[in-house]
Symmetry: C2
Subunit: 492 residues, 2 copies
């Protein structure tokens, strides 16, 4: 092997690969449930919009995530070739293989420290920005430790530091799941006790935001206490799918807006500190759309993921002391493109979740007309004939009927309402990336447990130090393992 000069006369100083990358800040991005086919759908759809809609002449383009592909990640859990989000997030959040359902505990139910907690311990600022409930499996594994992912109340308590043995670990939380932070006396609470986590957060100095208006004040910098720490939860449950949010942007911020605001806050808060920050971002609902086999909702959340990847790349170009890695926790839906034509997805303006909400809320008299004039056009299924409409009306399962019709129209196939075992794509970026060293460091096939070990090296922090402190507290606080075992790989 020889390396020949492709430019004349220049010799620049450079680094060998035994020079490990180091950075002040690390951004880890999880497109939950995003498989290889998800990106192909998004790319070919955007290509059609950009290059005209002649489906006979597809044009190869590159979206933001494409520009940062560097490898693949293995996802199996300790008890199944198919992982759930909990076991996978424990793997890439804490570096430990564990059973499906486990939130940052190992096979024996012992707590394991996360990379976020390790960063916090060394003085880094930390953040979680998601579109699911903030106490959903992926963010949970960064700041909570429970034996069963369905212990949502306990996870919320840990995340805000109320019952986390080491106190608050996260300086910035943005997402959904508001109901878990309100005492049961509140009519919108989903807690079974009187614990008031928003109240606790305020006492601990957190700014608490519960709606878009409060977020906008923070975003514009007009809020009085825009500094960390803060928590902003904008929906009692999951945040809206992007395809639905686009029609009602006044209700909730987008993932991109939250990421921008979070990075600005973290940047300001660490401007003069010795340590930087660790931020985990999750495009959570790509997964939910996969479980629902909802093609257009999956597409729009995947495009939003690419928008976030583009923003973060540009952010890193302006803030070069930052490294980004991104990989899904697993693939959801068994999505394949067996007769693919993205064009029909352009007619869709709502998720199947929204369709179901509308259908349930409808209290008019002419259900058939409502289906034909509102629901079907909204879901990209205009032009069905009378007999097809009758079939849908007589069908018990509107969700499954409509999602099948749309997928079939777009030539895509879902093999499951659950997860699959395939590897997922790894992306990475940092200012050493263009020069080659960082890219070469990151390139390859990784087991998901290897990823946080890499981050440990970059930030010079140690998850084992956290594990030691956590275990000094016994294990009563991690709750009980449910007897049923995980059904999360098979569906919601």
């Amino acid at each position: 092997m020889r390396y020949a000069l492709s430019l004349v006369g220049l010799l620049v100083p450079c680094s060998a690969t035994w020079l490990l990358p180091q950075a002040r800040n690390f951004i880890y991005i999880v497109p939950d449930g995003y498989g290889q086919a998800s990106q192909t759908i998004a790319r070919d759809y955007v290509s059609l919009l950009q290059n005209g809609e002649n489906a006979d002449a597809p044009v190869s383009i590159k979206l933001a995530a494409d520009e940062m592909v560097i490898g693949t990640v293995q996802t199996l859990s300790s008890d199944n070739f198919i992982t759930d989000s909990a076991a996978s997030a424990t793997a890439f959040g804490c570096g430990v293989k564990t059973y499906n359902d486990a939130i940052a505990v190992d096979d024996d139910g012992q707590p394991v420290g996360s990379i976020l907690e390790a960063a916090h311990m060394e003085g880094f600022k930390t953040g979680l920005v998601v579109t699911s409930t903030i106490n959903h499996a992926t963010p949970a594994c960064y700041a909570a430790h429970v034996k069963d992912r369905d212990s949502y109340e306990k996870i919320a308590e840990h995340e805000i530091g109320y019952s986390h043995p080491l106190g608050p670990q996260v300086d910035l939380l943005l997402g959904g799941g508001r109901c878990y932070f309100k005492p049961q006396s509140d009519s919108t609470s989903c807690r079974s006790d009187d614990v008031d986590l928003f109240g606790f957060a305020k006492k601990k100095g957190f700014r608490v935001m519960q709606d878009r208006k409060a977020f906008d004040e923070l975003k514009k910098g007009t809020a009085k206490a825009a500094n960390l720490p803060y928590i902003g939860l904008f929906n009692d449950g999951q945040m809206m799918y992007e395809i639905d949010r686009l029609r009602k942007p006044e209700q909730e911020p987008s993932l991109l807006e939250m990421v921008e605001t979070a990075l600005n806050s973290l940047d300001r808060a660490t401007k003069w500190t010795r340590k930087g920050y660790f931020l985990m971002i999750e495009a959570s609902r790509i997964d939910h759309a996969g479980h629902a086999n909802d093609a257009a909702a999956h597409l729009f959340d995947t495009i939003m993921y690419n928008d976030v990847m583009k923003f973060v790349r540009e952010w890193i170009d302006k803030h070069p002391d930052t490294i980004m890695m991104s990989a899904a926790d697993h693939e959801t839906g068994g999505l394949t493109l067996n007769g693919f034509d993205p064009l029909p997805l352009k007619e869709v303006s709502m998720s199947i979740e929204e369709v179901e909400r509308l259908w349930e809320d409808f209290n008019g008299t002419d259900r058939r007309a409502y289906l034909a004039d509102t629901i079907l056009p909204g879901y990209g299924l205009s032009g069905l004939n009378e007999s097809e409409i009758d079939t849908i009306l007589s069908n018990d399962d509107l969700e499954s009927d409509l999602t099948s019709r749309l997928s079939s129209k777009a030539g895509i196939n879902w093999s499951t309402g659950g997860h699959t075992a395939s590897d997922v794509t790894l992306h990475g970026y940092g200012s050493g990336w263009r020069g080659g060293n960082l890219k070469a460091d990151m390139a390859g096939n990784w087991d998901n447990t290897e990823l946080p070990v890499y981050i440990e090296g970059v930030l010079k922090v140690k998850m084992s130090k956290v594990t030691e402190k956590l275990r000094a507290q016994g294990t009563d606080w991690v709750g009980k393992r449910s007897e049923g075992g995980s059904n999360h790989i098979h569906g919601h």
Copy 2:
């Protein structure tokens, strides 16, 4: 971004990325129809064999291909989001997007030079080693130019140089497709004319091998004329699936044996020459097993691909003036692992192709006993009850019935008997890889047309020079485009 010393005191000279890699030899490996799930099946299966068969405790390992993952490749053709092998091989063989069915001709049916022909033009030795018929779409695009991939006779003529306007381009051809090289007077011929391509090859100085015995003489170096050029075709049609060949190794060499022999020949032939070699290797039948939705045949050919990747990596470590790249042309079968358990695949000892051959050839009296005692155990379906056996017997389509049962047993799903639109995984290796430069060069998401442009840079050759010479010959010789259009993305 800072780079910190991870080892003390050492400073070695190194290269920046604007130093482009250069090498004497290039090996390009195509695992036809291999998707991301194919590798997961193979890896988890091998892991089970290595780590015991307790499916409750899967263990993450890395196969040879995993160790060389560096990115992904986009595959769409000029007329469909789903490519066929012809358009894709024209893309990664010649750098040009074209229509499905096109063999190294562009959208207008004009010939385009391949990277193999460009290497030949500059004095490199060249080779094609495949397990399909040698005139199948993938190898065809490297040394033939026809408007329709089904022009098998003409492709064979081009490949051996009989009617290629620039004469023989390939110094070494190994694979199947023997019948296309024999005149129709031969009872085993599949030609419709009297052209004797083996006779032509001999006149041009090729050693001609038509069976394993002749191959073994070459392999052991006992053959008198072991030097290039040579052609070895070991089956009138496709070579055997690896799962079948394992039972009858005396009939045909494995892909690994052919690769080893080819590399030894190319290495010897270029020991003292100014230029090295370009070799294209195809694990062709991963694709065929995908079309047939035949899980175990797909698995065994994928394991063989990994064995070849391991051999080539070790070869490059010993012959550092060589670079390897490997990517599939497309995914086949829409394979997803929606309830995955590889264990049942261990009981399978034959492909569905072999099952069908046996079933057709059976001339005994008790068809039911033959099914129950020979066919079903051979295909990993022992233990079916009487009523299930009755169902199979009464079913018209044995292939589809048995492949569905096996796939379902192993928790895997096929969404099509054709191709899909997803990206495929890119692998690469060369001696600069460990040092980081080569790895960084190769890492990323590529359009398939970009790949041969990279090889042009490495070998310092120009496909456009070949295109120019080919077009000087007019276009009568490239044949006609079939009217039906491609059905190759939908099935055989």
